[in-house]
């Protein structure tokens, strides 16, 4: 995790852009589910949650380094800044774990419809919590 020396305005812009990407992944997950593509949906849900937390980190002036363990660091950060409580932290970590179980047979890891709904609701909650921390952009005042 790196600290970025940006202005507050730049951090806000970066955070809004990253949150936008998180929402795009959430929409992609819904699209995947509509087509019956369960495992790609899980991957997209994981990305949505990861980007939502990354957006808050960007607002705080941090960037996650692209190294092994970075995805775990994102989940840990969500708990560290109390974006989520311990139960949601455990659920986010389970989503991360599931996303990384690609070496297991599909029928062992493919979640049930109820489980997908649980992850979808979790990601929606994380998106809402992240959005609440990031100030919305304001319409600039009219020129004098």
């Amino acid at each position: 995790m790196h600290q970025i020396a940006n202005t507050v305005a730049q951090r806000r812009t970066a955070a809004r852009a990253t949150l936008g990407q998180a929402r795009d992944f959430r929409r992609a997950a819904a699209g995947n589910l509509a087509e019956g593509l369960v495992l790609p949906a899980i991957s997209a849900l994981h990305e949505a949650a990861r980007m939502a937390v990354t957006a808050v980190a960007a607002l705080d002036g941090y960037r996650f380094s692209n190294t092994p363990g970075a995805h775990e660091a994102v989940v840990d950060y969500a708990l560290a800044i109390l974006l989520v409580d311990r139960a949601r932290y455990a659920q986010l970590d389970q989503l991360r774990e599931l996303r990384h179980q690609v070496n297991y047979p599909d029928d062992l890891i493919t979640p049930s419809a109820r489980e997908i709904e649980q992850y979808s609701d979790l990601v929606d909650t994380v998106l809402t919590l992240a959005a609440a921390k990031i100030p919305a952009s304001r319409i600039p005042p009219p020129p004098l």
Binding site: Y89, Q94, P111
Partner: protein, 193 residues
């Protein structure tokens, strides 16, 4: 004169314990529900009660466990303030203590029908040679729970055992169960009332 010794099974996962029996007893005492009698230890581990009594006496002499007499029963506890207690507990978790830990985590959850360990950890535990396992694959059989529901249980287990636990939740009707149970290590099976 040649004397043939019949060795007790060794702990394939971590061959630093005197015997598998000693490891199983220590694992129950340090990683299980605690406060056990010799008879309970024998029942839980499947080790003959005389062997349990002999191993417990040996561990008590070494200061690793303590016993407390309650009526006619002798209750066995981990020795308090054991300087290497935490390290021993961690080693035991890897060697076999994860079994009583899982039992403790799921025993009271009536939505769980069965728990067993499969994959490389189970194979090594059963003595099959191979590289040391990186994680413990745990199958939880339940008709109503999901991995999501058990996320906090998994986190607690990982924190306690310091092992990477991979949970798989399977429906009781799953076709995969028969295949996965082969070579697995049973943890608990709830008998229908």
């Amino acid at each position: 004169m040649h004397t043939e010794l019949v060795a007790e099974p060794v702990v394939a996962l971590l061959p630093m314990f005197r015997s598998k029996h000693q490891m199983q007893i220590l694992a129950e005492v340090f990683c299980g529900r605690g406060a056990l009698t010799g008879a309970e230890l024998a029942r839980r581990t499947g080790i003959p009660q005389q062997t349990v009594a002999r191993e417990v006496a040996r561990l008590e002499r070494a200061g690793v466990v303590v016993t407390q007499r309650v009526g006619t029963a002798k209750i066995i506890h981990p020795a308090p303030d054991l300087p290497y207690g935490e390290v021993l507990r961690q080693l035991l978790a890897y060697a076999g203590g994860v079994i009583p830990m899982l039992d403790r985590a799921f025993r009271d959850n009536l939505a769980v029908d069965e728990v067993f360990i499969f994959g490389s950890w189970a194979a090594r535990y059963r003595g099959e040679p191979g590289p040391p396992p990186n994680d413990v694959d745990v199958a939880v059989v339940s008709g109503s729970l999901t991995r999501f529901d058990l996320a906090e249980v998994r986190l607690d287990l990982e924190n306690e055992s310091r092992l990477s636990i991979t949970l798989f939740v399977l429906e009781p009707s799953s076709d995969r169960l028969t295949e996965l149970r082969v070579g697995s290590v049973p943890v608990l099976e709830r008998v229908a009332a």
